[in-house]
């Protein structure tokens, strides 16, 4: 009984890892390597990548898109090797987990003669990439700071919730701090909330106990912001402050659209940039369309006036 069960399980496991991809001939193959959906923004990234895959494969019948997701830098490096040697891709669209460690693995792909598109996080050696599509992290911090400055009249007490300790987070926070320099805005406290709702909730609860007066919260990310909102509501201090998130999650855009006083605005850092990168790359591969070397997506401020333009009710993010 036990033996038979074990055998069945082994067989099932074997079937699952058996290759499913066929041997397509004369097809152009585009590999897409992105981080797995381990937080809200990355979830949106995965959704947009899959939507783009469907759209592009329909538009260009001889294009084959292969999406691989990785949970960490090491796995992403392995994925690149597999894409080149097993999948035999012609082009790579990659959103690197971290800039520095992924630079050499991407260089190897380039040296194998593939077209390389880098998304969001720049490599330390930009000469490797053929195309660079990115959001602008320093600008995101700057736009956020400028909005808060205006809204607060240049003075007041704020708390800052940071993301996961990474280059991205540092760029945003550094630019933010630089922009509020010289004003009377005081940062009471700063803590990591890991781009995560639960952590946003916990950290904000503690900030609320610690500081009797908070005028505004820079949550930097919409997932964190949602946790913050709950904590503020629980403490009954909604009238005291406003919260600025970031990314462009549909729930938050909706709140801005509905003129929620707690959430007067949001700053875009759209996960849809992966779709844009895939489209530009595909057009270049198939139609040989000329391309610019760089596409930088602006960190747009979303206000009740323009919110409807950035609202994607079907996206999971």
């Amino acid at each position: 009984m036990t033996f038979r069960f074990g055998l069945a399980a082994a067989l099932a496991a074997g079937l699952m890892v058996a290759p499913v991809a066929g041997w397509a001939q004369q097809k152009i193959k585009m590999g897409v390597s992105i981080p797995a959906a381990t937080h809200g923004w990355a979830g949106g990234l995965n959704w947009h990548a899959q939507q783009a895959e469907k759209r592009l494969e329909k538009q260009y019948p001889n294009l084959d898109v292969v999406i691989v997701t990785a949970r960490d830098v090491g796995r992403q490096a392995n994925d690149l090797e597999d894409l080149v040697s097993v999948q035999r891709i012609d082009a790579l669209v990659i959103l690197p987990f971290e800039s520095a460690p992924m630079t050499d693995p991407v260089r190897a792909v380039k040296q194998a003669g593939k077209f390389v598109t880098v998304v969001d996080r720049g490599l330390t050696d930009p000469s490797i990439q053929d195309l660079y599509v990115a959001g602008n992290n320093p600008q995101m911090g700057e736009v956020s700071a400028r909005f808060m400055k205006e809204k607060m009249g240049g003075k007041g007490d704020i708390v800052v919730l940071r993301g996961i300790p990474t280059v991205i987070d540092n760029q945003r926070v550094d630019a933010f701090m630089k922009e509020i320099e010289g004003t009377q805005i005081k940062v009471l406290g700063m803590q990591y909330a890991n781009w995560n709702r639960d952590d946003g909730f916990k950290v904000m609860q503690d900030f609320l106990s610690r500081f009797p007066k908070i005028d505004a919260v820079w949550a930097q990310d919409d997932d964190i912001a949602l946790g913050v909102i709950e904590a503020v509501k629980q403490a009954g201090r909604e009238k005291e402050m406003f919260i600025l998130g970031g990314a462009g999650m549909k729930d938050m855009i909706k709140r801005v659209m509905d003129k929620d006083v707690l959430v007067p605005a949001d700053v875009l850092y759209p996960p849809a940039m992966i779709a844009e990168a895939m489209e530009i790359t595909a057009r270049h591969l198939v139609e040989k369309a000329p391309i610019q070397k760089e596409y930088i997506i602006e960190a747009t401020l979303v206000t009740p006036e323009n919110a409807a333009k950035y609202y994607y009710p079907d996206s999971p993010f």
Partner: protein
């Protein structure tokens, strides 16, 4: 207590003061003093309420983990299971609003679904360990990955959000309470109490310790080892489900990040509380204290600006190690 089945506990020379038993409580007291010095707000009823309410999830899961670990097993799947059960519960409740209307019945169905899932997951883990003759570590490592990816799949990689009408009705389960004590704290206390009764007053509790101590001896003593182990995993599953029932109303959402690393936190709480990782000796009240300590460390770090946020992990690590070092009495033995 029952020295015949607790050789580990009995062999220790008791020199009047049992560090293993009281160590966790001493460490907790020290941490409370530290917190008060760092920021007087620490002792405010609001903060204490927040901390204890927050501890409830990990605490309830850790009570279940105490049984599994005492019986010599381990369950790595609890965090993923919490995420998966939360996700399924939300999806089911959202789907039922149309036919049943937003009301208490929908929430009751949701709660039953969560409990059923917890029970089923516990059975799967337990049966694979006992009938499948596999290591608990590998079985639950596997189910950990399965549950985590299932919730990611259901959520389409994004976040599942509870219907707002149901949310409004369900919300008080986390935010409400009686006599100023929140429901999560009450649930935590009830689970701990029942857990302590089972661990210290029932044959099952003693059998867990016996099996963790020596499986062969337990088997020769006519203990149904497989049944006890299976039951420990089922208890763990149910504890996770209870945690889910009070977790969902907090933020009304579940995603791939829900319950991330809860398994490690639960195991840490159990060990800080004095239970042996290799099994054979379990302490429920110690686990409760361990869970509270883990939340307190984060809380204290958030209440002070004196320590660079980059060093949070260091402080956490040092406090955990010192807490366990204290109770193992290494210093005293020299």
């Amino acid at each position: 207590m029952t020295p015949s089945v607790m050789p580990e506990a009995a062999r220790k020379p008791s020199s009047g003061f049992d560090l293993k038993l009281y160590g966790p409580f001493l460490a907790l007291a020290a941490l409370i003093v530290l917190g008060t010095i760092v920021n007087p707000v620490f002792l405010s009823p609001g903060n204490i309420g927040n901390v204890l309410t927050r501890t409830a999830f990990i605490g309830i899961i850790a009570v279940g983990a105490t049984f599994v670990i005492t019986a010599g097993g381990i369950d790595l799947s609890v965090g993923s299971l919490a995420a998966f059960a939360s996700g399924v519960m939300i999806v089911v409740m959202n789907a039922l609003v149309g036919s049943m209307g937003a009301g208490l019945p929908v929430i009751l169905v949701g709660v039953l679904v969560a409990l059923g899932l917890g029970l089923a997951a516990g059975l799967v883990n337990g049966l694979l360990v006992t009938k499948g003759r596999m290591e608990a570590f590998i079985v639950t490592l596997g189910t950990m990955g399965i549950f985590r990816s299932l919730v990611t799949y259901i959520a389409d990689g994004g976040t599942l959000s509870l219907n707002s009408e149901i949310r409004t009705i369900y919300r008080p389960v986390y935010y409400g309470g009686v006599f100023g004590i929140s429901y999560p704290i009450l649930a935590f206390a009830a689970v701990a109490l029942v857990g302590a009764l089972i661990m210290y007053r029932t044959r099952f509790g003693r059998h867990c310790a016996a099996i963790g101590s020596s499986e062969d001896v337990a088997r020769y003593s006519a203990i149904n080892v497989d049944r006890v182990k299976l039951l420990a995993f089922v208890l763990q599953g149910i504890c996770v489900a209870i945690a889910v029932v009070i977790y969902v109303p907090r933020l009304g959402s579940a995603s791939a990040t829900t319950g991330l690393l809860w398994e490690l936190e639960a195991i840490a709480a159990v060990i800080i509380g004095g239970t042996m990782l290799k099994g054979g000796y379990g302490r429920i009240w110690g686990t409760v204290v361990g869970a509270v300590m883990l939340t307190l460390i984060d809380n204290i770090l958030n209440l002070t600006g004196a320590i660079s946020v980059y060093l949070n992990g260091t402080i956490q690590g040092v406090i955990i190690i010192v807490a366990v070092l204290l109770q193992r009495g290494t210093v005293a033995r020299r």
